[in-house]
């Protein structure tokens, strides 16, 4: 049993931790304040959401201070189960993710302040409550230091986001998406429950400190890790547990999609790191193979399905699946290296993972918010009805372009940095002591590269079809740019993408405390310059984004200047030439289906394609194509049928008559008595 005193216990002076908890409470209060006048858009939008954003930035600052300090703060709050008060802990690992939560949610909250309006689903005040509870519960997940408060926070996160997803619950498809989300969340939660059950190692102590101290046998430790991987993988969207993601993300309002994709998925990465590298202590190398292979599979799978989507938010959801794959690939590599006694490379892979989480938060939130602005301006989510919005919505278009280029992994933006780090850690893998893994690693590098290139394909499709070309519908001419709060939110996230891309060295310096905590070493800096990232001493490997950007800008501007100075002709605007065809209409552009056609063709076996072609004599020709995931038919539908059969069998004992149930109770009592007598 527990013998911890139920009062405030201060180990180090937990100033920052208390501050963080206060901010989480502040979020809760803001959320409750929304109930004062639930129908008021002004209160929620102009006051509460911006206030929530401020708290977010404050949280990022506090957690950033803790990260730079590198210390560990503990706090025990007298709430929770009798004998198990809520343990909280602020260490470098949780600090990183708190910075991510605070900084990214700040931008999203600002945008949300301008986004939510009356008459769209739930009342703004109610949304404000759910939204801020969601934020606070994510914060609590990151701070929790015992299994009970972790799981309570985890469930609060799932529930609050469930209500946010089903904001427009009057639509049947959104209710269905919400149900699927809740179902997968709970399948994951059960796995986590079991994982923590194994982790406590029979001691009955559910604090994380006790789990760190528990000595599990190799088999149990592996079981705990695999259960945790399943549980967190379901939340992260690891293939094949990703099926809720493309349903729930489009259903939710865009700021919520941004929050779920940008931040919530990262709590799952946090969880895997926490269990795999912290609670279980030193990982066994082959554990890492599971996240590594699943991650690689997820990268390619997500990218392929993103390329064939026709709904812009579904496309982004699959792109999130791909990016989660990259993060889990990094986790897997970290564990393989850490388990093989190569801490320096493990630190590099861990760094790539953390960096990618930060990057993806900023860029995917930016893109989701961009689609939100488009959705508000046009009322369309279908790529086939968009186009040419760069003329009508220049702010959204140009800021989204930054996110588009970043997520396609182009230097000098942020997406490139994490991919560069990840590829570097793949390249240094050739010294692994396991022959089989040595063979797997090049395949891994190839798949990561393929995924990155496919991401470029997806992003060209995404951006080109929404913002470029001619408007595909007449109504798009009336589209308007977003408001000033939304612009600030987008600007902040775009700025994040640029800064994370340009100053990797400073970010890596700050992340040093985490790599020290988890794999016991930092990634060294082999170069004396502040602008040059050289993560491996002895190997001439370096990347300097600031110089890269300066050189690119210099060359481009010089070209423009020379052309301007020497060019003597004028520029004339005429109707598009189109090889002299003459009657050019918006229908002649590629649709989203058309742009995805090569991928559909090349990777046909991956997709379940249902095609409806018009007959030659058709008076109203109609072309329809529906693409589904095979995984539904192969895995989920048989599974659902099996569960249903089992439930039906079990239902036979339910007669609905009180006398039968009394008989059951009596029989149970008898059996229990017999057992008690026998033992």
């Amino acid at each position: 049993m527990m013998h911890l005193p139920v009062h405030l216990m201060i180990t180090l002076s937990p100033m920052l931790l208390v501050g963080c908890v206060a901010l989480l409470l502040g979020w809760t209060v803001i959320g409750l304040a929304g109930l004062l006048r639930p129908r008021s858009v002004v209160l929620a939008g102009r006051v509460l959401f911006p206030l929530g954003a401020l708290l977010g930035f404050a949280l990022a600052v506090l957690a950033g201070a803790s990260l730079l300090g590198g210390g560990i703060e503990r706090l025990v709050l007298p709430v929770g189960l009798p004998g198990l008060p809520a343990h909280l802990r602020l260490d470098p690992l949780s600090s990183v993710f708190l910075v991510l939560l605070g900084a990214v949610s700040g931008g999203i909250s600002l945008f949300a302040g301008g986004y939510f309006r009356a008459g769209e689903g739930a009342a703004p005040g109610l949304l404000c409550l759910q939204y801020h509870l969601f934020l606070a519960s994510m914060g609590l997940v990151l701070l929790a230091d015992d299994a009970y408060s972790f799981l309570v926070a985890w469930e609060a996160m799932a529930l609050s986001s469930y209500f946010l997803v089903t904001t427009q619950h009057r639509l049947a498809e959104i209710r269905r998406a919400g149900f699927l989300y809740l179902l997968m969340a709970h399948v994951g939660a059960i796995c986590l429950l079991l994982a923590f059950g194994v982790l406590q190692g029979g001691s009955g102590l559910f604090t994380f400190a006790a789990m760190r101290a528990a000595h599990l046998s190799a088999g149990w430790a592996a079981a705990a890790f695999l259960l945790a991987l399943l549980g967190f993988g379901a939340k992260a969207g690891l293939v094949p547990l990703h099926v809720w993601l493309p349903e729930a993300h489009p259903a939710a309002p865009s700021p919520v999609s941004a929050l779920m994709s940008g931040v919530m998925l990262k709590t799952a990465v946090y969880g895997v790191l926490r269990v795999g590298l912290d609670l279980l202590g030193h990982p066994v190398w082959w554990w890492g193979l599971a996240p590594l292979t699943l991650g690689l599979l997820t990268i390619v799978y997500g990218a392929l399905f993103a390329a064939v989507q026709t709904d812009m938010k579904r496309l982004l959801a699959y792109s999130s699946v791909e990016n989660i794959g990259i993060a889990f690939t990094g986790v897997g590599l970290t564990m393989v290296f850490a388990g093989s006694g190569m801490p320096a490379v493990a630190a590099l892979a861990l760094l790539a993972t953390l960096y990618h989480c930060l990057n993806h938060s900023f860029m995917k939130s930016l893109l989701f918010l961009g689609t939100g602005a488009v959705l508000h301006a046009t009322g369309e989510r279908n790529l086939g009805r968009l186009g040419g919005l760069i003329h009508r919505m220049p702010w959204v278009a140009w800021l989204t372009l930054i996110g588009t280029l970043a997520i396609a992994g182009l230097p000098p933006l942020n997406g490139f940095v994490s991919e560069w780090l990840l590829l570097q850690s793949f390249l240094f893998a050739d010294g692994l002591p396991h022959a089989l893994v040595n063979l797997l690693i090049p395949m891994g590098a190839a798949l990561v590269a393929l995924g990155a290139a496919l991401a470029g394909y997806v992003m060209v499709k995404f951006y080109g079809i929404i913002f470029l070309g001619q408007p595909r519908e007449a109504s798009l001419v009336h589209a308007h740019d977003c408001g000033w709060l939304e612009r600030i939110g987008l600007l902040w996230l775009a700025l994040g993408c640029v800064l994370l891309g340009l100053f990797p060295l400073q970010v890596i310096g700050a992340l040093g405390a985490v790599t020290t905590q988890l794999v016991g070493t930092v990634v060294p800096q082999a170069s004396p310059h502040w602008w040059l990232l050289a993560p491996v001493p002895g190997r001439p490997v370096s990347y300097g984004p600031v110089v890269f950007l300066t050189a690119t800008l210099a060359v481009v501007l010089m070209t423009a200047l020379i052309v301007r100075l020497t060019y003597r002709q004028r520029v004339r605007r005429v109707p598009a030439w189109d090889c002299g065809f003459g009657t050019l209409t918006a229908r002649m552009q590629d649709t989203a289906e058309g742009f995805g056609q090569p991928i559909r063709h090349i990777f046909q076996p991956f997709f379940e394609i249902e095609r409806e072609l018009p007959a030659p004599a058709d008076r109203t020709p109609r072309y329809r194509i529906a693409i589904a995931e095979r995984i539904w038919k192969l895995l989920y539908e048989p599974l659902a049928r099996a569960v249903e059969r089992l439930a039906n069998t079990a239902a036979r004992v339910q007669q609905g008559r009180i006398s039968t149930y009394l008989l059951y109770s009596f029989a149970t009592l008898l059996v229990l008595l017999a057992v008690a007598m026998a033992s």
Partner: protein, 316 residues
């Protein structure tokens, strides 16, 4: 970082800018000879550029600023790439900031701007070209990366000059991993530069064209920049090939006037041979159907991965 290194750096870009059109002219000349045609002048690409720079620019009414920026970005990216690839010297100050992965990223960035610009006006040809270009790109890019990885693992570095220096100092002849990569690289080079059998630079037939379809809406100075960038891209790819598979003649140590005296003729000889070789490939092979291109590129990708596997297995 001495002044001499910066001079080399600028010289590399200048030589690339100057030599890229001539290289294309030479390639076309060789092709004409092989096909029993009268060859056009080797200076023809220059004359074309000059002509284009003196024309009035015509832009579609609904073109966005992106359409006008793209040619400069693409050209700038290719010029910068020329500064990263060790075509003559290996002491390049810029290379510290941009290794081979960044180089592939630079190519990807140029491709992305090009395709976005192609989609900007919203013509059927533009989007068709953009789609096909991305189809080529998403398979060619990882293949190129894999090719570079084999060389990187051999040299423990992803910086091209370091790789070149290392490979040039080694024994003559390719390691087995690198041999597979070389095959993959040639396939990638053909695909990325819109050469036969993937694309036909001389055609304007919509069934087959890729690169041409994307640039149909461009004219005058914008078209000139794009054409020049395309020539630079070909030149850059050929030079990447030299630095990975034929690294001889490149000035390895501190470059001086003497080093350049060797490096420039060596580059010229290699370019002449490469141009003739490319012309031969283009003459011997036929243009493929568009949907066969993925198979072609998938084999390039497989060869590259095979190269990496061979390297890991044999440790060479």
């Amino acid at each position: 970082m001495s002044a001499l290194e910066w001079i080399t750096q600028v010289l590399e870009v200048a030589v690339a800018l100057a030599a890229a059109p001539v290289f294309l002219g030479w390639l076309n000349q060789c092709r004409a000879w092989l096909q029993n045609r009268r060859a056009p002048s080797i200076w023809l690409p220059y004359r074309n550029l000059r002509k284009l720079f003196h024309k009035e620019a015509v832009i579609a009414e609904n073109a966005s600023p992106l359409f006008r920026i793209a040619p400069y970005v693409v050209f700038g990216a290719m010029a910068l790439a020329a500064g990263i690839i060790p075509s003559m010297g290996t002491q390049l100050p810029l290379v510290v900031s941009a290794d081979a992965i960044a180089l592939v990223g630079l190519f990807a960035g140029a491709r992305m701007f090009m395709t976005l610009a192609a989609m900007d006006v919203g013509t059927a040809f533009g989007t068709l070209g953009a789609r096909r270009e991305m189809m080529v790109g998403f398979l060619a890019e990882p293949a190129l990366l894999m090719v570079i990885f084999v060389a990187s693992m051999l040299s423990s570095s992803t910086a091209l000059p370091v790789i070149t220096r290392n490979l040039a100092s080694g024994h003559l002849g390719l390691s087995p991993g690198l041999a597979f990569s070389a095959v993959a690289f040639v396939l990638v080079l053909l695909a990325e530069n819109a050469r036969i059998p993937v694309d036909n630079p001389a055609t304007h037939l919509e069934l087959t064209m890729i690169h041409e379809a994307m640039v149909l809406e461009y004219s005058a100075r914008h078209l000139a920049l794009i054409e020049w960038a395309a020539q630079l891209k070909l030149f850059n790819y050929v030079c990447i090939g030299f630095s990975l598979f034929l690294p001889w003649g490149v000035a390895r140590a501190q470059i001086g006037p003497l080093g350049l005296l060797v490096a420039i003729p060596a580059l010229a000889v290699k370019l002449a041979a490469a141009g003739a070789g490319l012309a031969l490939i283009e003459t011997l092979s036929a243009k493929m159907r568009v949907m066969r291109i993925p198979e072609f590129l998938a084999s390039a990708f497989l060869f590259a991965v095979l190269g990496l596997l061979v390297h890991v297995l044999l440790g060479a």
